[in-house]
């Protein structure tokens, strides 16, 4: 593996600016790495070789000509395949969109292009972002670089695995109930869900519009801050987009100080249901932060126990409505019924039967049920009230603490197939990440160490619009832990190239 793929995005940006290396060299090194390991990892659904190298060559030319360039110009990035791109297929991990080419770019893609970042390709995900393991992709599961027999989290397992396997320094994800943070947690990488509306959702194929958020995926906290600054900001194409300025997030990451910061431990997001190894790493991180001068306080969010139930009513309800557009008329696959009258209704029924996988069908039916006459008040209405209670819990907690802290996920990466036939067990993976989506507040997951050789994630949550606090606290914890480990956690991950050789020999 080329050493170039080991560098952080911030370091690569420095090297590029100093002309120590060219963007073509950096981009080619990552394309080579993808060719080397992705047969096993399966993080990528599409590799964008030609365009990535062309953008890289343009950046090198502009730099040679002395042009002023954006900070991350020439640093390559991978894109979750839920985000639409001109020139590359967008599948959402579904058969129903196999080979579909979007006629427009998502706003974040326009910003990536303006930042002159070569796009390496599109990453794997649970179909329409519905899942916590990437096993619900129609194109096969992504594998965890720490153990190829285990899940990389979901739905953004492809983006997390790509950065953890050094196939990309940066990636984009989307987070509806934890789809950026939980994969970061189980792969030893960093992932951020910004404040709802902080990053435009225009061009992210919608699952649950009131919960979805695009955000950065990386190996370091500073790298996520730098990418967040690129993709954030107001967009008239997204009517839920905030008009606030993005703020200096990289500067917040560089603060390097948590003295006097009040960190609230959420009583309900630890203990029962959380693996002992996860709890141990969490307790260690708390001690480190306390030692660095943070004030650790306990907060209680009693209504969080209803959050999972509310989420699994609100999310499927919105998804059942959002996915109605996949009907074989305007885009995607069209499947004709085997026999009987050839009416549009029957074509839709056959198209959606063949195009959607089991989990998508399950959520559409559940959402249709929750929204149907006679049940609406009992289910959807009650879930929306829980949303109010969860927000009030956050308000009370943030009156006592500047940021909140919890394990990102209750367990480390489980084995492929382990929870595939038990939807309810799968849903429990998101128990600590879902409250943030219900309330719209931002969250980050940073590596917290290993339990039985597998990564554990630590989550920070901040009040809406206070994303900068995540980067400040996250970066300090990262520095304290790396000092203890003698380097980044991912330096301890197994050598994937050796795994590739072995599987080739078998």
């Amino acid at each position: 593996m080329s050493e170039l793929t080991r560098h952080s995005a911030a370091r690569l940006a420095e090297m590029l600016a100093a002309k120590d290396v060219s963007s073509v060299e950096v981009t080619q090194a990552h394309l080579d790495r993808i060719a080397e390991v992705d047969g096993n990892v399966n993080a990528f659904l599409h590799v964008n070789t030609e365009e990535a190298l062309a953008v890289a060559a343009d950046v090198d030319k502009a730099r040679a000509a002395g042009e002023e360039l954006p900070v991350l110009a020439g640093v390559p990035i991978a894109i979750k395949d839920l985000i639409v791109t001109v020139g590359q297929p967008t599948t959402a991990g579904s058969r129903i969109l196999e080979g579909w080419m979007s006629p427009y770019d998502a706003t974040v893609i326009k910003k990536i292009r303006a930042a002159k970042m070569p796009m390496l390709g599109k990453t794997n995900l649970d179909e329409f972002a519905m899942g916590s393991s990437t096993e619900h992709s129609a194109y096969g599961p992504t594998r965890n670089p720490w153990d190829l027999g285990r899940i990389p989290g979901g739905s953004g397992g492809g983006s997390a695995a790509a950065v953890a396997a050094f196939e990309a320094p940066l990636a984009l994800g989307t987070d509806t109930g934890g789809s950026i943070r939980q994969p970061a947690s189980v792969t030893g990488s960093v992932g951020v869900k910004p404040t709802y509306g902080g990053v435009s959702r225009y061009g992210a194929i919608a699952m649950a519009s009131s919960l979805d958020q695009i955000g950065p995926v990386s190996r370091t906290v500073l790298d996520s801050a730098l990418l967040h600054e690129v993709i954030g900001g107001h967009d008239p194409h997204d009517s839920t987009s905030l008009t606030d300025p993005v703020g200096s997030l990289a500067e917040a990451a560089r603060t390097g100080d948590v003295r006097g910061l009040r960190i609230g431990v959420v009583r309900e997001l630890q203990g029962e249901g959380y693996d002992a190894g996860v709890q141990a790493r969490f307790d260690e991180s708390l001690e480190l932060l306390r030692g660095a001068g943070a004030e650790i306080v306990e907060v209680s969010c009693p209504n969080f126990r209803y959050a999972l139930g509310a989420y699994y009513l609100i999310m499927p309800s919105e998804a059942s409505s959002n996915l109605a557009k996949f009907d074989g008329v305007r885009y995607g696959q069209r499947v004709l019924p085997a026999d009987g009258p050839m009416t549009i209704e029957r074509v839709m029924g056959a198209t959606r039967a063949a195009g959607f996988g089991d989990e998508v069908k399950r959520r559409i039916i559940l959402g249709t049920y929750a929204l149907s006459a006679g049940y609406y008040d009992a289910y959807y209405g009650s879930a929306q009230k829980v949303r109010t209670l969860v927000q009030r819990d956050f308000d009370a907690a943030f009156a006592k603490a500047d940021v909140l802290i919890s394990p990102t996920a209750p367990t480390t990466a489980f084995k492929l197939g382990e929870k595939l036939d038990d939807p309810l067990a799968m849903y429990l993976n998101d128990v600590a990440t879902i409250p943030a989506n219900l309330a719209g507040v931002p969250g980050i997951s940073v590596p917290g160490g290993l339990a039985d050789g597998l990564p554990v994630g630590i989550q920070f949550l901040a009040p809406a619009r206070e994303d900068a606090r995540l980067y400040r606290a996250g970066h300090v914890l990262e520095s304290l832990l790396e000092e203890k480990w003698g380097g980044p956690l991912l330096a301890q991950a197994p050598d994937l190239a050796a795994a590739e050789t072995m599987s080739g020999a078998n």
């Binding site: 139930g309 008329v329 305007r330 399950r362 039916i365 149907s372």
Partner: protein
Amino acid sequence: MSEINREAVAHLARLAHIEMTDAELDRMAGELDVIVDSIKSVQEAAGDDVPATSHPIPLTNVFREDVVGETLTNEQALSGAPDSADGRFKVPAILDEE
């Protein structure tokens, strides 16, 4: 137990335009019954005095200037369509011929 049985799932699948085999209906009914049972506790969480929240960040309606903006061309809009004719999406019969 919740009210989700095989007949209910068959009805919901028709509403959602998803054809399902008998085996799928049986399996889905069992799974959904378990899921709904486990999430129905939301009903006991809040009393009548708690307002519903539909959206995480309070927002007011957003309007744009009433001027012609950038849109897809006819060709772009049809580029992913399974079938089209005369610049329009083409679909099978809307009504059953009976």
